[in-house]
Each structure stands twice: as C-alpha cells, then as structure tokens.
C-alpha cells in the first residue's frame, strides 16, 4: 500500500476544507452516519450544513466558519491511500499550518476565483518550498462565482505563474474547480466547455512519491538499548543497510561492521528506507542518539555552521537557540539575520556548539532543521 500525503494550502476562506470535503464526498469516502451526525449537530446549533464541516470538527470551527487546526482525511483507491491534509489559512495559525504541511509530499494551492491572490496564497507557497514540497498544482476554486468564465480563470493563472516561478515552481498545472458543485474535481464540468484539461482528482491520484530506497544509505540513531549486547536503535532514512556491511558514524568518524540486524524477535539480512531496526556492531562502542550511519565513502555533510532558508513562526527573544536536525540537537547562536521577524522567511546562518550531520540533498529530515526557544519550535528551515 502506498501512502500519498497531499496538503491543501492557500488563503483563508478560499475553500481548502470544502475542496477536500468535495473529494471525500464524490469518492464515497465519508460514511453516511458521519454525515448524518454532522447535519444534526449543525441543525441543533442553528447553523446551515457546510461540507467543510466534515473536516472542521471543532464546535468553534463550525461557529466561525474557519479551520483552526490541521486534520487529515483519507481516500483509498487501488493500492494507494491518499491522505488529504487540511490546514488553516489564517496567519495567526501558521504553526498549525506547518504541522499539517510538513507531512506532505505534494501540495494543492487553492485560490478563490473571486478574490484572487492574497497574502497567505504567497506565504503558503513560500512555506511549501522551504518544507521541500516539489510537486504542486493550483486549484482555482469557486469558479461558479465568476460565472465559469475562462477570462477570469486565465487572469489568475497569468498572475500566479510568475510568482510560482520566482518561488521555484515550474511547469505547474491549473484546474478551474468548484468545491460547491464539484466542477472538475472528480468529474469534468459541462459549465466549463472551454477547459480541455484533466480533473483535480486525476492529478491527485497520479502523484508519485519518491522512493528513498534508491538514495544514499543514511541510518539515523534514535536510542541505545543496553543488554547482553548493545543494540543501536534507529531508522533507515534512505538507502539500504545490510548485515556484514562496514558502517561509519558521524560525528566521531567511528567505523565498525554490522554483526546483525534485529527486527522484533528475529534477525534480518537487510533493511531499507523507512524501516526502524536495531543493529549490533562487531565492536562494543557507544553510538549516541543523533549520530548518523552511512556507507564508507558515501559520507553526509557534517559541521558546526548551518545555513539555508528559514521561516520564523515567532521572532526569537535571544540569539541562543536549540537547533535540531534529524535526531541531533545542539546549542546554536544565530549569526544572521540580525533581527528575525515573526511570520516571515529569511536566509539564516547559525553557529553550533558541536558538529551535527545534515544533508542538503536529503528529502528526509536531514535536509530540514527546526529552532527551539524555551522548548518551543519557533522556526523551520532547510539546509544548503
């Protein structure tokens, strides 16, 4: 079963929740009894039923017609599970947006046909890029509100195209849709005869998720279980790890051979990207949490200075922050920017008190960092 997590991003009220709800409804992915319960709850509260309420389950969300927190709903189709992630479009709720969006491998940017491009349209796009999302499509929603007209649709397309390109998204598909009546969501709409392209569902059900098995081997150490033999526990982030193989660890440049690989009660010969395993080495050496194992000669980057693009959820109170990358954590001092601004992106440079391993090429967690202040995540960035 392949899992395809897709986030719906964009400005508030442009219809992210409604569009997901439409996809769920038109693929029969919502149980009848769930719908019945929501409708009767709306009735009791004196509210009209909105399809967005399938995702917006908090009482406060339905009362105020807004998404407060991220949620995920799934469509099962063939051998795939398409996890549609809903996030809030309000700037005050950006940390909830990042929580949802960071899980995604693809994104649908939702723009309302009547309102066009707004502040969060652009901000969410920039965040998608920092989060490492490469696969993106644009849904121009509420096409019914502009009379299904081609001109209005093309006007938004021509405005968003250069913005997409400047953020780094090229060859993007655009879909004229209506979450309200289902136009071009699952089925082609008769109201848009000028539109010859595919439906949004065609895009979603064809999203390919990169297989990390074929990338360089990276083994992220999570923990160490002491016992008759010391088991180093961790996850193969990419590539394949094999019994008998020579493995190196950063930091420290420790070399050893893998005596065996443990998976529950049995031993296994190899493990690939995504698998959480335990390994026992031929030498009794201590490998700490945060270390990264790799194949001899195929080393990741390690260093005390990190730089890249970052998004500040909050502005930092001090220049001393904790930086986390993979399972490693280090004390850091921000060298730039001089003054981080909340809810804005910037370039960054940070100096750490110890070497950590990072990997700008990695589409996994070694390519991403967070900064914490007082234990709270205040920024998320990539590494260059």
């Amino acid at each position: 079963m392949k899992e395809v997590p897709i986030v719906f991003i964009g400005h508030k009220d442009h219809g992210k929740s409604s569009l997901i709800a439409r996809l769920l409804l038109d693929t029969n992915s919502v149980k009848q009894s769930v719908l019945k319960d929501i409708k009767s709850a709306d009735k009791e509260e004196g509210k009209n039923f909105e399809i967005a309420h399938i995702l917006d389950s908090f009482k406060e969300e339905r009362q105020n017609e807004m998404t407060i927190d991220s949620t995920t709903a799934s469509i099962r189709r063939g051998s795939g599970v398409y996890q549609l992630i809903d996030v809030p479009g309000h700037i005050e709720l950006i940390s909830n947006m990042l929580t949802g969006a960071s899980l995604a491998k693809a994104a649908i940017l939702v723009i309302s046909a009547d309102e066009g491009i707004k502040e969060q349209t652009i901000k969410h796009l920039e965040l998608a890029e920092i989060l490492g999302i490469k696969n993106l499509a644009v849904a121009i929603n509420k096409i019914d509100l502009i009379g299904y007209e081609k001109e209005g649709f093309l006007k938004i397309v021509s405005k968003i195209k250069p913005i997409l390109q400047s953020v780094g998204f090229n060859q993007i598909q655009f879909f004229p849709v209506s979450a309200k009546d289902g136009s071009n969501v699952i089925k082609k709409s008769k109201s848009t005869p000028w539109y010859k392209g595919k439906t949004l569902a065609d895009f979603i059900f064809n999203v390919k998720v990169k297989n990390l098995k074929n990338e360089k081997m990276r083994f992220l150490v999570q923990d160490r279980f002491a016992g008759p033999e010391n088991i180093i526990v961790g996850r193969v982030e990419s590539g394949t790890i094999k019994k008998g193989q020579e493995i190196c660890f950063f930091p420290g440049n420790i070399k050893a051979k893998i005596k065996f690989i443990k998976d529950f009660e049995k031993e296994i010969k190899k493990a690939s990207a995504g698998q959480g395993i335990g390994i026992v080495l031929d030498k009794d050496i201590i490998i700490e949490r945060g270390s990264v194992g790799f194949e001899k000669g195929v080393r990741p980057t390690t260093g005390k200075i990190l730089k890249g693009k970052i998004f500040w959820i909050d502005s930092a109170k001090s220049r001393k922050l904790i930086c986390e990358c993979g399972n490693a954590a280090a004390q850091g001092t921000i060298l730039s920017p001089k003054k981080p601004i909340a809810s804005a992106k910037s370039l960054y440079k940070i100096s750490l008190d110890k070497c950590i391993v990072y990997d700008p090429e990695s589409s996994g967690s070694l390519g991403k960092i967070v900064l914490k202040e007082d234990g709270k995540i205040i920024a998320v960035g990539n590494t260059l």
Partner: protein
Amino acid sequence: MESLEQKSIYVLREAKVKFKNLAVLWSMGKDSTTMLYLCRKAFFGKIPFPAIYIDNGADFKETYNFRDKLVKEWQIQLITAKAELKKDIISGTAEGLNKAEALQRVLEEKKFDGLIVSIRRDEHGIRAKERYFSPRDKKFKWDFKNQPAEIFNYVSDFKEASHVRVHPILHWSEIDIWRYTKEKNVPVNELYFSKNGKRYRSIGYPESTVPVNSEAKNLDEIIKELETTQTTERSGRSQDKEKEYVMQKLREMGYM
C-alpha cells in the same frame, strides 16, 4: 501496512527517549492490544513500561479473561486504576469522566509524564485534530486551541505539561487494525466476533455498549464487513451518540 507500523514504532521509540516515566493505556480492545503488540516489536519482545487498565469492576467477563491470558503470555506489568461506577448513569458521559478521574489519580500517584493512548484519526472528527505528542496541562486539560507545532519529526519540549499523551496509531484506520491483527496474528477479545447474529465493534462496559448486527465470525469476515459498512465504529457507544461535541468536551477534560 508496513509504513503504518514503522511510523508507530518510530513514535514509540521517540516517546521512550523523551519521557522519564512512560506507561501505555490498555483496555483489552483491538486498538490498545495492537498497540501492545507494536510496543513489543519496538522494544524487541518485552515492553519496558507498565500498562494501565482502568477498571470499573463491571467489564465483560470475556474482557477480564482476555486480560489475564495476555498479561501472562506477554509478561505485561499491569497497573489497575480503579474507577467508580456510578449507578445513575444514563448516558456514557459519566463513564468517560469516571475513567478520566481514575486515570488522573494513577498518573499523579505514579508520576507518569508520558501516556501512550491508542486513539485514531478516523474514529471521530475531534480525534482527527490530535497530534502524535499532545500535552495536557496541570489540570489535565487539553488546550486544543493552542496545540504546539509538530513539524516533520520535531516536537516541542512540553515544559508546562502535567503529562503528554502519545498517539502512535493516530494515522491508522479501523480496517488497518483488523488487517494488521490478521497479518501478525495479534490476539483478539472474542466479543468482536459474531454470536447469534451480533458482535461488538467497539467495546466499552456492558451497560454503555450495544453490539451491532453482524454475521462476521472471524477476522476475514470482519474485514469484509468493514469494506462496505456505512455506520461508524463507535455507533454502539452511548457517550458519542448523545451529541457531536460531547467528545470535544470529554477530551478537553482529560478523557481518552
């Protein structure tokens, strides 16, 4: 199946690193029994922390038998939190709160800072809004309007929390649990199988749970039934039935 399982194992191992005093909640139902299986897998056979069972003294006898058998077989360190069963229960809300109180007592007494709970997003819209790591404040309440960021695998440190709820199977669905149960041969409480045309789809205690009409007598038949059903899993539970927002209220107050 494997990626579902691997994500859960990753979360369980992170929980072990992050918390000094961890426990797992076990109701003997299909989800929390699958959770115990995952814990055994994550820690290579033996679960390195206790399982808490909230006992109101009135569970099904099948549930008690199942508990005793598995405690022995899997060498589970069991902690029983006694919940008082109030006689005037009409709806299940009181049951939920009694259990939450009993849980709070045991968490305070034993100073648990992390509690593994087997909730899933697809069970209820409110549960769908949860995080993998979800702090509860000093009064054991869930501040759903201010949930900390959880970005990639990075989570906050929860300095202000009384304890943190850990939800390793948040991304599983009901049918996933059954498919996994079948694949891994995870033991099952017999109440889930049909007897005289009825089976339990979700198990509470006898007074608050009603069985659903079903002919599903084994795992294959349960899986087949779930592929087409239009009713929700918890339709046999009285507490959710009452109102859409009962679950939100209960969760805010510390219910599982």
